[in-house]
């Protein structure tokens, strides 16, 4: 188990990490998600002992690591560019940590063989690092970090140097390997898909501050603030005032603009306390229909859907999907759709629809879902 207690670090009088508190349970992979330069790598290096924190404490399996040098922490570290030793072959790279521990040659051989078998890299054992592919380098780096039987595994964007196709394949394989070996670790990335797939928990960071910690679904569907929402792809942020609250229905006026939305509030007690509120809507929950099909729209969608007129101002291809930006007056809304549903082009007027349940307040919790847990939503 890893416990980070109020870790802070400054470089050149600039706060790089500010009061980081985080726990990672045994056999759990916590993903540190955040933009470049937000302090993720610094935090990993502090845990590994490669950088000394200014304040705070690191506990691994209830033991303070603060006074141990990196050599004595028994932490596996997979570096971003793998940091494999170019003058040693694959076997020598993996065996390095065991050789340093002065284990018997027979034991070194057996442990290196075992990890190479798990990671399916026996066939490249005698190759030089310059002779192996990016995917193989990633496996060798992982093998080298795992063979020393570390208490904790730290991974610093280990897939970022790979091409997209290989990255997609390897992240699934990496997930299986980590689960199979029951590794406790921290995984740094700025890739949301990687975070959702590999993390038992996700900690979103920005400017050295933890923004939200939770399960991947919680982060994705219930972002706590605007930064987290935007970082996980929820670009639709609606800021408004609560006009009316009746049972589990609320009416929100957006930006004092006479644009009113119906919102389902059953799960969110925050509506009972706050009037100024920020909501997010996932782009995939925003539907667009051609204005010519008005009659069909009323038949197709339930009456309590929010329906607004808008104008398509941008369509950007994103793999098999399309990101559509619609101007609805006081703000732009973003929708994600597939090519076969595209019934309009830039400049066309469209009808924008989303259900009453599509929006969530930016509070980070499904507050009403657990009565025992008090809601600590902040906006």
């Amino acid at each position: 188990m890893i416990v980070l207690d109020n870790i802070s670090k400054e470089f050149n009088r600039q706060m790089v990490l500010n009061g980081i508190n985080l726990s990672v349970r045994d056999r759990e992979i916590m993903v540190l998600l955040g933009p470049s330069g937000c302090g993720k790598t610094t935090l990993l290096k502090i845990i590994a002992g490669l950088i000394k924190q200014d304040r705070g404490s690191i506990l691994i399996n209830d033991e303070s690591m603060d006074n141990y040098p990196p050599q004595e922490r028994n932490i596996g570290f997979v570096f971003q560019e793998y940091a494999l030793f170019p003058h040693k072959n694959v076997y020598e790279n993996i065996a390095f940590g065991l050789k340093i521990r002065k284990l018997q040659e027979s034991e070194i051989k057996s442990r290196v063989n075992e990890i190479m078998e798990i990671l399916e890299i026996q066939h490249i054992r005698n190759k030089r690092i310059s002779q192996i592919s990016g995917g193989q380098k990633q496996r060798v780096a992982l093998a080298r970090a795992l063979v020393i039987d570390p208490c904790v595994l730290l991974m610093d964007e280990p897939l970022s140097a790979l091409d997209p196709v290989l990255r997609e394949r390897l992240r699934e394989e990496l997930r299986e390997i980590l689960k199979k070996l029951g590794v406790t670790g921290l995984y740094v990335t700025h890739d949301l898909t990687e975070a959702m797939l590999l993390g038992d928990g996700v900690a979103v960071m920005n400017k050295g501050v933890l923004q939200q910690v939770g399960k991947p679904d919680e982060i994705f569907y219930h972002p706590k603030n605007e930064f987290v929402a935007k970082f996980v792809g929820v670009k639709n942020i609606l800021k408004g005032t609560l006009l009316n609250l009746e049972k589990d229905n609320a009416i929100i006026e957006i930006n004092n603009n006479n644009l009113k939305f119906n919102i389902k509030v059953k799960k969110y007690p925050i509506f009972e306390r706050v009037r100024e509120i920020s909501l997010c809507i996932h782009p995939e929950d925003v539907m667009l229909e051609n204005i010519k099909n008005m009659e069909e729209i009323f038949k197709k969608y339930p009456r309590d859907y929010n329906i607004i007129r808008g104008k398509v101002i941008d369509i950007i291809p994103n793999g098999s999907l399309l990101k559509v930006t619609v101007d609805i007056g006081p703000l732009d809304l973003y929708s994600i759709t597939t090519r076969n549903l595209l019934d309009y082009e830039i400049g066309d007027e469209v009808i924008v629809l989303f259900s009453k349940e599509a929006s969530h307040p930016l509070c980070g919790k499904k507050c009403g879902s657990n009565k025992k847990r008090s809601c600590k939503c902040r906006i």
């Binding site: 290096k45 590994a48 002992g49 490669l50 040098p69 990196p70 050599q71 004595e72 922490r73 028994n74 932490i75 596996g76 570290f77 570096f79 971003q80 560019e81 940091a83 494999l84 030793f85 170019p86 003058h87 390095f96 940590g97 340093i100 521990r101 080298r144 970090a145 020393i148």
Partner: protein, 262 residues
């Protein structure tokens, strides 16, 4: 305009080749011509062998000393936090830019009979100046920066992540140096050895001031040229040029190997 530019570039290239021939090729040809003219003149080979052996041996020893001092200095400058590190770095490189005669003079006032260190040593009956040891001292003084610079550049080229990776795998400072830093800086260290040796064997000014009656190759060339023994000066010059050519060829080969490896 384009044609003018092309003519200008071609003109400059022609001029450069002309100056190169005049300044470098012609003196080499002049040397070969002079050797040819004096083929019939008998030479006392002791005049050649003595300085040659002295130069080879003293340069070798000063290179070995530079190797053992240069690597730790380069390590300190690359990996350690030192007060006034920049000043320290400049001082180490100072012999590269100061005139060799100044270097010789500094050695004289330090290790000479009445020098800062020489005086107490002299009281103990130890004399440094005007001996083989003084030649080695002068050669080391001027050649050491070549070793330090070359090795330091090599150390700096090693990605810090490799050092970090070694630390997380349990390696201490000695193991990191032996297993990672040293093998990865091998080309730089070899280049350093070659450059240091080349500088040491060609050293004249500082050596001249501290060698006394002893003659290394460059001093012997000077003395023989001054006293009119051109046939000896010719042969000694040719030997020194061939050694230098060999060293540069070796350096080029190692440099090429390094590039290929990268």
């Amino acid at each position: 305009m384009n044609n003018m530019g092309t003519v200008l570039i071609r003109g400059l290239m022609g001029l450069s080749i002309g100056v190169f021939i005049l300044l470098i090729v012609m003196p080499l040809l002049a040397l070969l011509y002079n050797i040819g003219l004096n083929l019939n003149v008998s030479i006392n080979y002791q005049d050649i062998l003595g300085p040659l052996i002295l130069s080879i041996i003293t340069s070798l020893i000063s290179t070995i000393i530079s190797f053992f001092i240069g690597i730790p200095l380069a390590y300190l400058l690359t990996y350690k936090e030192l007060p006034f590190k920049e000043v320290f770095d400049i001082i180490i490189n100072l012999p590269l830019v100061i005139p060799p005669t100044v270097a010789g003079y500094l050695l004289l006032i330090t290790f000479g009979k009445y020098g800062l260190i020489g005086y107490p040593l002299n009281l103990l009956g130890i004399t440094i100046m005007f001996s083989t040891f003084a030649i080695i001292l002068a050669q080391t003084f001027v050649a050491l920066p070549f070793m330090v610079r070359s090795v330091k550049t090599s150390f700096q080229d090693i990605p810090p992540s490799l050092i970090d990776a070694s630390k997380t795998l349990g390696a201490g400072e000695y193991e990191i140096f032996k297993e990672i830093i040293l093998p990865l800086s091998k080309p730089g260290i070899i280049s350093g050895i070659i450059l240091t040796y080349a500088r040491a064997i060609g050293e004249f000014g500082a050596t001249m001031m501290v060698s006394g009656l002893l003659s290394t190759l460059p001093i012997a060339i000077f003395n023989n040229a001054q006293s009119g023994n051109r046939e000896v000066a010719n042969i000694l010059s040719l030997i020194l040029i061939l050694i230098s050519f060999g060293i540069l060829a070796l350096f080029k080969r190692i440099g090429h190997g390094k590039l290929k490896k990268n």
